[in-house]
Protein backbone atom coordinates (compact mmCIF):
# COMPACT_ATOMS: atom_id res chain seq x y z
CA UNK A 1 0.00 0.00 0.00
CA UNK A 2 2.79 2.43 0.90
CA UNK A 3 4.21 2.13 -2.63
CA UNK A 4 1.20 3.90 -4.08
CA UNK A 5 2.03 7.36 -5.38
CA UNK A 6 -0.34 10.15 -6.48
CA UNK A 7 1.18 10.17 -9.97
CA UNK A 8 1.05 6.41 -10.50
CA UNK A 9 -1.80 4.98 -12.62
CA UNK A 10 -3.37 3.41 -9.55
CA UNK A 11 -3.03 6.66 -7.64
CA UNK A 12 -4.60 8.65 -10.47
CA UNK A 13 -7.42 6.13 -10.81
CA UNK A 14 -8.08 6.25 -7.09
CA UNK A 15 -8.15 10.06 -7.02
CA UNK A 16 -10.37 10.20 -10.10
CA UNK A 17 -12.81 7.76 -8.51
CA UNK A 18 -12.89 9.82 -5.32
CA UNK A 19 -13.54 13.06 -7.19
CA UNK A 20 -16.17 11.45 -9.44
CA UNK A 21 -18.05 9.95 -6.49
CA UNK A 22 -17.85 13.24 -4.56
CA UNK A 23 -19.28 15.15 -7.51
CA UNK A 24 -21.93 12.48 -8.07
CA UNK A 25 -23.30 12.63 -4.55
CA UNK A 26 -23.04 16.43 -4.62
CA UNK A 27 -25.11 16.58 -7.80
CA UNK A 28 -27.70 14.19 -6.36
CA UNK A 29 -28.08 16.42 -3.31
CA UNK A 30 -28.34 19.47 -5.58
CA UNK A 31 -31.46 17.97 -7.21
CA UNK A 32 -33.34 17.50 -3.93
CA UNK A 33 -34.33 21.10 -3.30
CA UNK A 34 -34.17 23.06 -0.07
CA UNK A 35 -31.35 25.02 1.51
CA UNK A 36 -29.92 22.13 3.53
CA UNK A 37 -29.44 19.93 0.48
CA UNK A 38 -28.03 22.82 -1.55
CA UNK A 39 -25.46 23.54 1.18
CA UNK A 40 -24.66 19.85 1.36
CA UNK A 41 -24.16 19.76 -2.41
CA UNK A 42 -21.96 22.86 -2.28
CA UNK A 43 -19.84 21.23 0.42
CA UNK A 44 -19.30 18.13 -1.71
CA UNK A 45 -18.41 20.16 -4.78
CA UNK A 46 -15.93 22.30 -2.84
CA UNK A 47 -14.39 19.13 -1.38
CA UNK A 48 -14.08 17.62 -4.87
CA UNK A 49 -12.29 20.75 -6.03
CA UNK A 50 -10.02 20.73 -2.97
CA UNK A 51 -9.05 17.13 -3.70
CA UNK A 52 -7.49 18.12 -7.02
CA UNK A 53 -6.64 21.81 -6.64
CA UNK A 54 -2.95 22.22 -7.57
CA UNK A 55 -2.33 24.98 -5.06
CA UNK A 56 0.16 24.73 -2.24
CA UNK A 57 -2.30 25.06 0.62
CA UNK A 58 -4.59 22.33 -0.73
CA UNK A 59 -1.64 20.02 -1.40
CA UNK A 60 -0.19 20.62 2.04
CA UNK A 61 -3.48 19.93 3.78
CA UNK A 62 -4.76 17.20 1.49
CA UNK A 63 -4.65 14.80 4.43
CA UNK A 64 -7.00 17.09 6.33
CA UNK A 65 -9.29 17.43 3.32
CA UNK A 66 -9.47 13.64 3.13
CA UNK A 67 -10.34 13.36 6.82
CA UNK A 68 -12.87 16.16 6.50
CA UNK A 69 -14.53 14.52 3.53
CA UNK A 70 -14.69 11.20 5.37
CA UNK A 71 -16.38 12.96 8.29
CA UNK A 72 -18.68 14.92 5.99
CA UNK A 73 -19.88 11.84 4.13
CA UNK A 74 -20.22 9.86 7.35
CA UNK A 75 -22.30 12.66 8.86
CA UNK A 76 -24.55 12.68 5.80
CA UNK A 77 -25.07 8.91 6.13
CA UNK A 78 -25.83 9.09 9.85
CA UNK A 79 -28.22 12.03 9.37
CA UNK A 80 -30.03 10.14 6.62
CA UNK A 81 -30.20 7.01 8.77
CA UNK A 82 -31.71 8.98 11.64
CA UNK A 83 -34.25 11.07 9.74
CA UNK A 84 -33.91 10.69 5.99
CA UNK A 85 -36.43 9.25 3.57
CA UNK A 86 -35.99 5.69 2.33
CA UNK A 87 -36.26 5.74 -1.44
CA UNK A 88 -34.21 4.85 -4.47
CA UNK A 89 -32.29 8.11 -4.95
CA UNK A 90 -31.40 8.21 -1.26
CA UNK A 91 -30.07 4.64 -1.41
CA UNK A 92 -27.98 5.54 -4.45
CA UNK A 93 -26.53 8.59 -2.69
CA UNK A 94 -25.73 6.60 0.45
CA UNK A 95 -24.13 3.78 -1.55
CA UNK A 96 -21.95 6.34 -3.30
CA UNK A 97 -20.97 7.84 0.05
CA UNK A 98 -20.08 4.45 1.51
CA UNK A 99 -17.80 3.67 -1.44
CA UNK A 100 -16.39 7.20 -1.26
CA UNK A 101 -15.46 6.76 2.40
CA UNK A 102 -13.82 3.41 1.63
CA UNK A 103 -11.73 4.93 -1.17
CA UNK A 104 -10.76 7.87 1.02
CA UNK A 105 -9.58 5.44 3.69
CA UNK A 106 -7.51 3.61 1.07
CA UNK A 107 -5.90 6.87 -0.04
CA UNK A 108 -5.38 8.13 3.50
CA UNK A 109 -3.76 4.87 4.50
CA UNK A 110 -1.46 4.96 1.49
CA UNK A 111 -0.40 8.60 1.69
CA UNK A 112 -0.96 9.83 5.22
CA UNK A 113 -0.44 6.97 7.63
CA UNK A 114 -1.51 7.72 11.16
CA UNK A 115 -3.20 11.14 11.15
CA UNK A 116 -2.75 11.80 14.87
CA UNK A 117 0.84 13.18 14.70
CA UNK A 118 -0.21 15.49 11.85
CA UNK A 119 -3.19 16.70 13.82
CA UNK A 120 -0.97 17.32 16.87
CA UNK A 121 1.49 19.27 14.72
CA UNK A 122 -1.31 21.28 13.12
CA UNK A 123 -3.18 22.19 16.29
CA UNK A 124 -0.16 22.30 18.61
CA UNK A 125 0.77 25.96 18.05
CA UNK A 126 -2.87 27.02 18.28
CA UNK A 127 -3.35 25.00 21.46
CA UNK A 128 -0.23 26.51 23.05
CA UNK A 129 -1.39 30.00 22.11
Amino acid sequence: MRTLRPTSPAGLLLRAAIVALTIATGLIHATLGGLLFELNAAGYLVAALAMVAPIGLAIRYRWLIRLGLIGYAATAIVAWYLMGPRYDVAYVAKAIEVVLIALLFVEARAYDGNPLPRIRRAVGPAARA
Binding site: L4, A17, G33, R86, Y87
Partner: protein, 137 residues
Protein backbone atom coordinates in the same frame (compact mmCIF):
# COMPACT_ATOMS: atom_id res chain seq x y z
CA UNK B 1 7.00 3.60 -12.21
CA UNK B 2 4.76 1.83 -9.77
CA UNK B 3 5.54 -0.51 -6.93
CA UNK B 4 4.17 -3.99 -6.46
CA UNK B 5 1.50 -2.66 -4.12
CA UNK B 6 -0.01 -0.49 -6.83
CA UNK B 7 -1.46 -3.40 -8.75
CA UNK B 8 -3.07 -4.75 -5.64
CA UNK B 9 -4.40 -1.30 -4.82
CA UNK B 10 -5.77 -0.80 -8.30
CA UNK B 11 -7.54 -4.13 -7.88
CA UNK B 12 -8.95 -3.02 -4.55
CA UNK B 13 -10.19 0.25 -6.05
CA UNK B 14 -11.81 -1.58 -8.94
CA UNK B 15 -13.45 -4.00 -6.50
CA UNK B 16 -14.81 -1.16 -4.37
CA UNK B 17 -16.15 0.69 -7.41
CA UNK B 18 -17.73 -2.53 -8.67
CA UNK B 19 -19.28 -3.12 -5.26
CA UNK B 20 -20.69 0.40 -5.34
CA UNK B 21 -22.07 -0.10 -8.82
CA UNK B 22 -23.67 -3.36 -7.71
CA UNK B 23 -25.20 -1.62 -4.71
CA UNK B 24 -26.54 1.11 -6.94
CA UNK B 25 -28.03 -1.28 -9.44
CA UNK B 26 -29.71 -3.34 -6.75
CA UNK B 27 -31.47 -0.64 -4.83
CA UNK B 28 -35.07 -0.03 -5.52
CA UNK B 29 -37.98 2.11 -4.84
CA UNK B 30 -40.11 3.62 -2.29
CA UNK B 31 -42.20 2.98 0.71
CA UNK B 32 -45.94 2.65 0.62
CA UNK B 33 -47.89 1.94 -2.53
CA UNK B 34 -48.56 4.93 -4.71
CA UNK B 35 -50.68 4.53 -7.78
CA UNK B 36 -50.53 6.64 -10.90
CA UNK B 37 -53.76 8.54 -10.91
CA UNK B 38 -56.48 9.78 -13.16
CA UNK B 39 -60.06 10.76 -12.37
CA UNK B 40 -61.37 10.45 -8.83
CA UNK B 41 -60.40 7.66 -6.47
CA UNK B 42 -63.08 5.31 -5.17
CA UNK B 43 -64.18 5.80 -1.58
CA UNK B 44 -63.21 8.62 0.72
CA UNK B 45 -60.25 10.73 -0.26
CA UNK B 46 -58.35 13.85 0.66
CA UNK B 47 -56.42 16.08 -1.71
CA UNK B 48 -53.05 17.65 -1.01
CA UNK B 49 -50.57 19.44 -3.23
CA UNK B 50 -46.97 20.57 -2.89
CA UNK B 51 -45.74 23.64 -4.68
CA UNK B 52 -42.73 25.91 -4.12
CA UNK B 53 -41.46 23.69 -1.31
CA UNK B 54 -44.68 23.93 0.71
CA UNK B 55 -47.96 22.06 1.10
CA UNK B 56 -51.01 23.94 -0.12
CA UNK B 57 -52.99 23.02 2.99
CA UNK B 58 -51.99 23.32 6.61
CA UNK B 59 -54.92 21.28 7.85
CA UNK B 60 -56.75 18.27 6.42
CA UNK B 61 -59.61 16.15 7.64
CA UNK B 62 -60.11 12.41 7.10
CA UNK B 63 -62.63 9.81 8.25
CA UNK B 64 -61.78 7.65 11.24
CA UNK B 65 -61.48 3.86 11.16
CA UNK B 66 -61.75 3.78 7.41
CA UNK B 67 -59.07 3.44 4.78
CA UNK B 68 -58.94 6.44 2.46
CA UNK B 69 -57.02 7.70 -0.52
CA UNK B 70 -54.73 10.68 -0.39
CA UNK B 71 -54.43 12.33 -3.78
CA UNK B 72 -51.03 13.98 -3.66
CA UNK B 73 -50.00 16.34 -6.43
CA UNK B 74 -46.31 17.20 -6.40
CA UNK B 75 -45.98 20.40 -8.39
CA UNK B 76 -42.26 20.78 -7.72
CA UNK B 77 -39.47 19.35 -9.81
CA UNK B 78 -37.87 18.01 -6.63
CA UNK B 79 -38.87 14.87 -4.72
CA UNK B 80 -41.61 15.02 -2.10
CA UNK B 81 -43.81 12.56 -0.29
CA UNK B 82 -46.41 12.54 2.44
CA UNK B 83 -45.88 10.69 5.68
CA UNK B 84 -48.35 10.67 8.55
CA UNK B 85 -47.41 10.61 12.23
CA UNK B 86 -49.62 10.24 15.23
CA UNK B 87 -49.39 13.19 17.60
CA UNK B 88 -50.91 11.79 20.77
CA UNK B 89 -48.80 9.45 22.86
CA UNK B 90 -45.57 10.59 21.25
CA UNK B 91 -44.75 10.76 17.56
CA UNK B 92 -45.23 7.46 15.76
CA UNK B 93 -45.18 7.01 12.00
CA UNK B 94 -48.41 5.43 10.77
CA UNK B 95 -47.99 5.92 7.03
CA UNK B 96 -45.19 6.56 4.54
CA UNK B 97 -46.10 7.59 1.02
CA UNK B 98 -43.64 6.88 -1.76
CA UNK B 99 -41.25 9.69 -2.63
CA UNK B 100 -41.51 10.99 -6.19
CA UNK B 101 -40.49 14.03 -8.20
CA UNK B 102 -43.00 16.29 -9.88
CA UNK B 103 -44.83 17.52 -11.60
CA UNK B 104 -46.85 14.37 -11.02
CA UNK B 105 -49.80 13.11 -9.01
CA UNK B 106 -50.02 9.87 -7.05
CA UNK B 107 -52.74 8.21 -5.05
CA UNK B 108 -51.66 7.00 -1.65
CA UNK B 109 -53.70 4.20 -0.07
CA UNK B 110 -53.77 5.28 3.57
CA UNK B 111 -54.86 2.60 6.08
CA UNK B 112 -57.67 3.16 8.56
CA UNK B 113 -56.62 5.54 11.32
CA UNK B 114 -57.99 5.88 14.82
CA UNK B 115 -59.67 9.19 15.65
CA UNK B 116 -57.26 11.88 16.73
CA UNK B 117 -54.70 14.42 15.63
CA UNK B 118 -51.94 13.53 13.23
CA UNK B 119 -49.11 15.40 11.53
CA UNK B 120 -48.43 15.02 7.85
CA UNK B 121 -45.00 15.88 6.52
CA UNK B 122 -42.61 15.48 3.65
CA UNK B 123 -39.80 13.17 4.70
CA UNK B 124 -37.36 14.72 2.25
CA UNK B 125 -38.12 18.24 3.49
CA UNK B 126 -39.30 17.90 7.11
CA UNK B 127 -40.08 21.62 7.31
CA UNK B 128 -43.11 20.89 5.10
CA UNK B 129 -45.77 19.88 7.62
CA UNK B 130 -49.46 20.14 8.36
CA UNK B 131 -52.14 18.73 10.62
CA UNK B 132 -54.50 15.87 9.79
CA UNK B 133 -57.63 15.67 11.90
CA UNK B 134 -59.15 12.19 11.85
CA UNK B 135 -62.70 12.00 13.19
CA UNK B 136 -65.92 10.04 12.88
CA UNK B 137 -68.13 11.67 10.31
Amino acid sequence: MTGPGSGRLAGSVALLVAAGAFALSGCGGGAAAATPSSGNPPGPYVVLAARDMAFDAGRLQAPANEAFTMVFANGDAVPHNVSIERVEGGPARVFDGAVFSGPATRWYAVPALAPGEYTFLCQVHPSMTGRLHVANE
